[in-house]
């Protein structure tokens, strides 16, 4: 039995901390955290619709999310997946339907929902620590921000200007900024889209670890199917303004690429690309064992 060299390489890279990153042991500090949240929020979306003028973006979207669940929304660009996230964040109001968090109607300034944007959106004129502490109030603001920073492995960059950070580091600061509010629902709007492949793998592991630790409900939007399968409890496909597929991924975590991973990826990818006639044959072939190198490459690009 031989692995393809590309697979081996990807596997070993994912285990090795990258340059400038702290080791996994330091990323998750074992001491009792001041950043303990109240667990995850249950989300219920009923018959949600949104249009911008004549253009319909979302139509009749229904979605139930259990507390602490990790949902990944995939879809082609312009399918309305980001709009769904913005509606959940309260940045925009739906035209029809409703969103409920823990059974309560969503009201505008959401204190337990936090959104991570595609670009980090750090304030360039605030130092890293002050960016994390943005919007916090209370006596121990700096300590809380410092702890959130150390959870993403950037405690030593607290005094730097954001301009000095790499793209991946900026997103980690943005993640710390979201976590410091102990959100019960964390919304991630393609936060890894602009990062290089290696940094993405590192970020997947970081997000997964922090999610497991804090227990928040997570909703990630992405166009990368393998990213979806690496992280999701459920993958939701939005297509033509509505939910077209809702698939549970029951693989054990942390997830490594294997036949089952590849089978999920293949099926969802085929569905996204709308090639249903090839779906069954391909899925069976993948489940049978051999994954071919091209597929192994795909998740890194």
């Amino acid at each position: 039995m031989s692995h393809s060299p590309i697979q081996l390489q990807a596997g070993s890279l994912a285990l090795t901390p990258l340059r400038g990153a702290t080791s996994p042991a330091r990323l998750v500090t074992p001491r009792v955290s001041a950043l303990k949240g109240g667990g995850g929020a249950a989300v219920q979306v009923d018959k949600l619709a949104k249009r911008y003028g004549e253009r319909e973006v979302l139509r009749q979207v229904d979605l139930q999310i259990a507390p602490g669940e990790f949902i990944v929304i995939v879809g082609r660009s312009g399918c309305g997946k980001s709009t769904l996230l913005r509606l959940l964040a309260g940045l925009e109001a739906p035209d029809q339907g409703r969103i409920r968090l823990d059974g309560n109607a969503q009201s505008r300034p959401q204190t337990d929902t936090r959104l991570m944007f595609q670009d980090a959106r750090l304030l360039p004129w605030k130092r890293v620590l002050d960016n994390v502490a943005l919007g916090l109030q209370g006596a121990d603001v700096k300590e809380r921000a410092r702890e959130a920073l150390s959870q993403v492995g950037l405690a030593d960059r607290a005094g730097d200007w954001p301009a000095l950070l790499s793209g991946g580091q900026r997103q980690r600061v943005a993640l710390a900024r979201a976590l410091v509010h102990t959100p019960r629902l964390l919304l991630l709007d393609e936060p890894l889209g602009a990062l290089d492949a290696l940094t993405r793998i590192e970020m997947h592991r970081l997000i997964e670890r922090l999610w497991q630790r804090h227990g928040f409900t997570a909703l990630l939007v992405t166009h990368d199917v393998s990213e979806a399968i690496a992280l999701a409890d459920r993958v939701v496909l939005i297509e033509a303004h509505r939910i077209a597929l809702d698939e549970r991924i029951a693989l054990p975590r942390p997830r490594h690429r294997g036949p089952a991973f590849a089978a999920h990826e293949e099926r969802i990818l085929e569905r996204v690309l709308q090639q249903p006639e090839r779906l069954d044959a391909e899925a069976e072939a993948s489940l049978g064992g051999a994954t071919h190198p091209v597929r192994a490459l795909r998740w890194a690009v």
């Binding site: 964040a89 309260g90 940045l91 300034p109 959401q110 204190t111 936090r114 959104l115 944007f117 670009d119 959106r121 304030l123 360039p124 004129w125 605030k126 130092r127 943005l134 919007g135 200007w161 954001p162 301009a163 900024r177 509010h181």
Partner: protein, 259 residues
Amino acid sequence: MVQPGVQRSLPWVVPVLVLAGWQLASQSGWLSTRVLPEPWAVLKAFWSLTVSGEIWRHLATSSWRALVGFAIGGGLGLLLGLLTGSFRAAEMLLDTTLQMIRNIPALALIPLVILWFGIDESAKLFLVAFGVFFPLYLNTFHGIRSVDKGLIEMARSYGLSGWRLYTQVILPGSVASILVGVRFSLGLMWVLLIVAETISAQNGIGYMTMNAREFLQTDVVLVGILLYALLGKLADVAAKGLECWWLRWHPGYQPGLPR
């Protein structure tokens, strides 16, 4: 790589060469003293004015006029720029009027200003204030309006609003643009002051040069002109210093970083 010492002295090579050429031309008689006195004579005039204390009196008066005029005009420009930039209603109400007034050259107002204020201090202050108002107003307005909408949205979603949103996001986001306005204004400030002082004054650098012209003291005229150059440079250095401090987060203003 260029040595740091060489790099620092490089900007002064051309001025020194010009001075040397000028001195030579004067000494050889090729350049008449009526046209341009030799640098040495200018230096001597400067020295005698310094010793007599006359120059300090003029310098103090001119600086006071410049700064007070700048404070009034610039302050108003900043305030109104913040107002129209932040509130649509204020923009609707004021911006058209201000844009119309902006197109009047400050110097065209001189006859009117003399009629209104006579030839005392307030006339000069008015001219300076009027001139520096618009660069600051326009750049402040533009700065406020061009703050990254994404950052504002982010800050709102993180619970910032009202005064906190203003001081932590909108104002810092427009500082770069406001400082551009400050630099423009500082340049204009001296131009307007010179004109105001040459028209009617009993003291100030402008008065000193006009007075010297009456007596064909070209060396004193040159001292005045050089003083203006020096003061202008000084104002610019001050503005640059402000930029370096307020924009120290900006990648373009960080020393030792590749641009």
